[in-house]
Symmetry: C2
DNA sequence: CCATTATATGTCATATTCGACATAATGTCA
DNA sequence: TGACATTATGTCGAATATGACATATAATGG
């Protein structure tokens, strides 16, 4: 893993082992981070699509506004379980969640989104 | 949620809230359980495909044989993170993991598997 | 501008998940 | 059968994720 990439990841609150023993793991960790980035982005957009506030979603999933906020900024302390629970509570189907997990988020510009 | 279904889930070591306040959550919980069942089955078959022992996979992911065993029987104490880490360490790509998450496991009989 | 609402960030006690270990159960093969 | 490898199950202290809360920082619109 490149140092620059690791620094970026750690800056976002992620822990990355660097001992040689864990070199294979770093790929898995990076994958996990990217999955969570994708999940986070989708939780946010889905919630907004339903015009729900973080507070409301929090209540729905039995959590708190602060935790929902951490989810949406892909804080390192949020588990995949919470992402999945949230998406499910937003009406996202299992197969849709599978796609979110499997594909990188593409940040589109205003020209393509039409906004 | 039907009582029979909940009983089955709880028998497998899962905790399911039953207060009316959490009725919407139970669907999400069931989805999570099914995802983990799918992930568990795939960890097992992929590991066997590479002719790896639980002990060896455990070492690869910095865990223990007992935890790998729990993974493969879809024990309730195993997080999605660990499933993903394991699959990644077994060489499964992100898009493949997405498919595993998104689609129910189909248990095939001997006629179709050829065994 | 101010007031109000929504979102982000930090901390903390509690709950959950962790690897490790012992040991039981199952499988394998001679 | 017995010896050996592999997998399953239970438990425990340590590590991590949790909801709750306070509070900071936007964002909204009047």
């Amino acid at each position: 893993m490149k140092a620059s990439k690791q620094k970026k990841i750690e800056a976002a609150g992620w822990k990355v082992g660097s001992a040689s023993e864990f070199l294979e793991l770093s790929d898995a960790e990076e994958m996990l981070v990217n999955m969570k980035l994708s999940l986070a982005a989708n939780v946010k957009t889905m919630r907004q699509q339903v015009k729900m506030t973080q507070q409301e979603l929090a209540k729905r999933i039995g959590s708190s506004q602060s935790r929902v906020a951490k989810m949406e900024v892909a804080d390192g302390s949020v588990s995949m379980e919470l992402f999945v629970r949230s998406l499910a509570s937003l009406g996202v189907s299992r197969s849709q969640i599978g796609k979110i997990v499997g594909a990188r988020v593409v940040k589109r510009n205003r020209a393509t989104t039409g906004l």
